[in-house]
Symmetry: C2
Subunit: 321 residues, 2 copies
């Protein structure tokens, strides 16, 4: 019986894969490093390996799988067959669908990672009930998925959802896109990393760096959480600042779209939502107009890191109907 | 034959009314001052007078009218019968539909003024073709209407479109809503008025004020245009600044929603679009991500001041089907 689905969340750092039954229940998961620097062939081989690992754990054979959904960190070509551009993986116009179908022998559907995760949140967490919902994903970068009038909002050329490039502070920090003061340049994990680096250069002490003589090259969300829990002043200050920006971004979205729910996900939220949500909600509620505050739910996704694989599996389920 | 429609655009300053034939052609218009300070009864009497004036000019009798649409500057109650809140008119929960129906004897439909004008632009100007379109109205305040996935985006509680309260500059100018740095507090006619006032206090000379000893209490869009045409440095500077903010607001919308078209209207644009559009487009195109720039049209509405009455008449036509 081909009544199971595989959902793959392809990230810049890791590949997360889940096997789901017909009811959308996750039976098993597998995680691998992406190693994008090894190129397209190697990454697709690792995706296949991760799918096989998850199937083995779940006891489900490839003959039981109806289809495979993939959320990829970039834009998908109009025909849905290729990843048009994925800057974190340095992919440009690669035939991901065909490559995976050749190796797994089952149909594959691609979508943008934020879109897939939003689908997971909207359907699996909210039972597809809200006609207007926004999901925001905060990690290395920031993206969003919008449900408007009950349907996914793709926009004229499938480029909607670039919330990370909403200008929130004209003339503010430089963004990778070439502009200044984008939300992503103010409140993503990369933005926090840059601010920690600048603070270290100013001679500030922080629990975020054990060995001040070593070069500071990476900031993990878990480390940020532990630093805050340890009372680190710099980490607390930076998270308060970024929470304010996220609150404003949410307010801008709510004043514009008046959704029923705003749901936060992504690596930074996965680790830090308990610490950040109160400050995020406070700023957001202060800045949202009265009419758009009514009945509004602002919450971290209950699916956590699984939003992406859940949505990718649902994508396969929807497309294979 | 009841095959004609009346569209009324109720503004804080003026009431504009048009009689439209079955093809959506405007046969005659009438304009009156609103005089909101005289209260609800007096304003509705003036709306009725303006409708009768327009009918008289067009040679159309009330028996030829199938319905009347009204765009009102505020929020409409969920049942569509009352204006829930219109701050500029100091109206709270007034029975506008019943009052007009009692006096005109024909069915009346109410909508928010920005929503009605957006409907006019989308249907009459763009032939209802774009599935994703945003209309922005810049005058005393700033509002927007959003067409998403081919339908009007109202949001969970009909409060979508509050673009004027998108925070564009945290800690910036105070806004009437209580927050700081809202787009409306930076780039509406009221914002320009405040900036002129501050410049006068700093001793700056400007063509905007003929008699510096008289108190500066009003700034009309037409006067701003003439000052720019006369080479007035302050007026030029302020319009460049506000055009930049409008360009950024458009970029934020386009990165988020990826519409096919962004259309600008409202009193300030009606008078100043020729002067402001090049600077608005320049900033917007610089800040919109490559993918969302594709095929994008950023333009002033060809309907000008008639967008509101056109949309209000179309509202009546749609609802009376």
């Amino acid at each position: 019986m081909q009544d199971h689905f595989i959902g793959i969340d392809l990230g810049g750092t890791k590949v997360l894969t889940g096997v789901f039954d017909q009811k959308g229940h996750c039976m098993a998961k597998a995680k691998m490093k992406t190693r994008g620097e090894q190129g397209f062939e190697a990454v697709t081989a690792r995706m296949v390996k991760s799918a096989k690992d998850a199937m083995e754990q779940s006891g489900i054979a490839i003959s039981d799988i109806r289809g495979i959904g993939v959320g990829a960190p970039g834009t998908i070509s109009a025909d849905g067959n290729r990843v048009a551009f994925a800057p974190n993986l340095q992919w440009k116009d690669v035939p991901l669908k065909a490559a995976l179908e050749a190796k797994l022998g089952r149909p594959v559907w691609l979508d943008n990672d934020c879109s897939a995760a939003t689908l997971g949140i909207h359907r699996a967490e909210f039972g597809a009930k809200p006609r207007d919902l926004v999901a925001i994903f905060i990690g290395t970068g920031i993206g969003a998925g919008i449900i408007a009038n009950g349907a996914f909002l793709k926009g004229a050329h499938s480029n909607a959802g670039e919330l990370g490039h909403m200008i929130l502070e004209p003339g503010g920090s430089s963004c990778s896109c070439g502009n200044r003061g984008c939300y992503e340049a103010l409140a993503s994990r990369s933005a926090i990393f840059r601010k920690v680096k600048a603070a270290l250069e100013d001679g500030r002490k922080t629990l975020l760096v054990e060995d001040p003589s070593a070069s500071f090259t990476k900031l993990r969300s878990g480390k940020l959480r532990r630093a805050v829990e340890g009372g680190d002043a710099l980490a607390i200050e930076l998270l308060e600042e970024t929470s304010r920006y996220t609150g404003m971004a949410i307010a801008n979205l709510c004043n514009l779209l008046n959704p029923e729910a705003v749901v936060l996900g992504g690596g930074l939220m996965e680790q830090l939502h308990e610490i950040m949500m109160p400050a995020i909600r406070k700023t957001a509620m202060k800045c949202i107009m009265l009419g758009a505050r009514h009945g509004l739910k602002i919450t971290a996704t209950a699916l956590g890191d699984d939003a992406g694989i859940t949505g990718a599996a649902l994508l396969a389920e929807e497309r294979s109907r």
